[in-house]
Symmetry: C2
Subunit: 391 residues, 2 copies
């Protein structure tokens, strides 16, 4: 073997996920893609808002520069983002508190590169976005998971018990992938107070990082609270991938709490990390586009409709789940303990979903409902049949 | 300190470079940017070809998707790139041998992530692009430098002596930043034979990575030889930043030698690395653009003209240098041993250049001539005065 041992091991470890995707591709080849109900990917099915394409056209017509800019991004774009985030986070930010990044995945890698010393721990509640494990490991850190309550809300006692002298980052994701849960203001305030107390006890700054790419995709007047008001040593990682339906363009940002104790070290360190990790800067054209599109989103009511369709359908079949408050994922309980076996049973009905084990949430499966309404409707007989099989 | 110790140390170590840039910014603030001769940045001054903007417009008009695609890139774009690279590398490639990346910096990080085990060495000839040190370190590797000949061509004996049981990668950059040197076919063939021999002796695959973002920017009918024909365990990292003048857009690719022994491990490992490092995929819109623009470049004769202006001017002032065969850099000998002192003396003449020490080439300074002709012409009296001061 002449590639890195770790990369080789990662490949082996995730081979069951790959096999599952290959089985899905095989099903599509056999039965025609239109006859397979694919709920496996968080690839938004809505097209970007018309205004997004118009903005791109305008930028190109105006012959905007494609040259290097500062590693942190265009000053005017950072300023526009800061203004918008000030309202979201209920705290005044300036452009200097923003770093434009290659999506939220780029943002998280830049943050962890700038923060982690070897062996530092990144703690995250389960179930969680699996990539977090790789991101922590990329920069010499270790991902540690803590359980959540049965409804996937934060279990503050579990977190408090788990925080230790190696904890550098608490990484939360709200609205959550895969559960759709949104953490309440009350729980975040309690979390902030606890982190402050533990930080003093351990004589260590514990950073709270909130990964928020689904912040704008919420239902029933759900409010996604500010993390900046609940704890000052905090940062936001996010992207426009989901709310503008442009995940292939890799555009997002980091926002640093304007009251963070070591703000300038953080900003300078992350600017360096953005450069040396090879991102260099967020794509120029997309920076300009999102700078001009603050607050623009796809029509969220479309996802709301899909959520109702799915929840009503699954309930009627007897599935148990927490109705997602945000994002476009539903994390349902499998009728048997072995979620991989159940997902295989769904494949027999030409339904593709992802086993909860892939998210550190065994006994469940994730349905990404960023698909056509017809896909949801037409999959219901299959969902019912799979449930019947194990009842 | 609550950022990573290593990042903090990197900041300190490079503080002299930052100071120098700040001094340059200060000069511009004092004297007006138009009165300062800035040769410090490899930010191309030419605007992208008209065809680039037209292609972007067409893509947007056609409402191309901005969704996720495979981590390695769009199949049709990879195919178009493979066809073009087949001609450049004088060997038939397929789209499966290509991975689209966020620029060459992204490509190099993906490659090293996929290749390096802890402590593995990446060897590169001096002077070299300083970011290489960070890229190797990011992924647990160590950068080792080997000297070149006086004219910056490869010193094969030095390389052969330096290769050891920890060497995993030989990283070359031709046309070179900062010297503009292009390695000959003869030297590359000898290098390939040597690496093959050493690999057998050490029972280890030593990869040759060629960083080639300046391949299309060459002068006087210089030919940039294929590295694929000289050594089979080889890969190319490159970008469109320089030849299309779009460095802010972060678009490039990796090409793997179709005869590489572990080709599929390499491709799969790098696809995984592209994902978990947070790049996920190269920006979608720019992938489509470059896919449609294979072989299109800015007008290289403009850089050729600047090179003549600069070389004639500096020669007349008494500077010694190897005339660059490619890229838009000239690496001149400073008239005194202390290149930082000499660059400071140039700043007294409102000329900004980068000390050779920053590239592991002390006693020299780098002039980036991707600037207006007027900047080159008007800087000459200053270059002359600085030379006179130390004669």
């Amino acid at each position: 073997m002449t590639i890195a041992k770790k990369i080789d091991e990662f490949q082996r470890r995730s081979s069951w996920i790959r096999k599952m995707f290959e089985a899905g591709a095989q099903l599509k080849a056999e039965h025609g893609a239109e006859n397979v109900f694919d709920f496996s990917l968080g690839n938004p099915n809505l097209t970007p808002p018309e205004k997004f394409e118009e903005t791109l056209s305008d930028i190109i017509k105006n012959r905007a520069s494609h040259a290097y800019m500062p590693n942190v991004g265009y000053p005017d774009v950072r300023e526009a983002v800061a203004q918008f985030v000030s309202a979201e986070q209920e705290m005044a930010l300036s452009g200097n508190d923003i770093i434009m990044t290659c999506g939220a995945a780029g943002a998280l890698n830049v943050m962890l590169k700038a923060l982690l010393d070897p062996g530092d721990e990144v703690m995250t509640p389960t179930p969680f976005f699996v990539e977090y494990g790789y991101y922590a490991d990329n920069h010499g850190g270790v991902l540690k998971t803590v359980p959540t309550n049965a409804d996937f809300t934060l279990d503050l006692n579990a977190i408090e018990e788990a925080v230790n002298e190696k904890t550098k980052v608490l990484l939360i994701n709200s609205p959550n992938n895969p559960t759709g849960q949104v953490y309440s203001e009350e729980s975040l305030n309690a979390l902030g107070a606890m982190l402050e107390k533990k930080g003093k006890e351990l004589n260590r700054t514990i950073y709270l990082i909130s990964d928020e790419p689904y912040r704008k995709i919420v239902y029933d007047d759900t409010h996604v609270p500010s993390i900046f008001t609940c704890y000052k040593e905090s940062m936001v990682a996010t992207s426009y991938s989901k709310d503008l339906s442009v995940p292939g363009e890799r555009i997002g940002f980091i926002a640093v709490n304007p009251n963070a104790t070591y703000k300038s070290d953080l900003i300078n360190g992350m600017a360096l990390a953005n450069r040396i990790l090879g991102f260099v800067n967020a794509p120029a054209l997309m920076q300009r586009a999102v700078g001009a599109l603050q607050g623009t989103t796809v029509d969220i009511s479309e996802y709301a409709g899909k959520r109702e369709l799915l929840c009503d359908g699954l309930s009627a079949c007897g599935y148990e789940f927490v109705k997602p408050a945000g994002a476009f994922y539903l994390f349902a309980k499998a009728p048997i303990a072995d979620d991989v076996e159940f997902v295989n049973a769904l494949q027999d009905e030409l339904i593709l979903a992802v086993p909860g084990s892939g998210f550190g949430g065994p006994g469940h499966f994730r349905i990404a409902f960023c698909v056509d309404d017809e896909t949801i409707k037409n999959a219901m007989p299959g969902f019912e049949k799979a449930m019947e099989r194990f009842k």
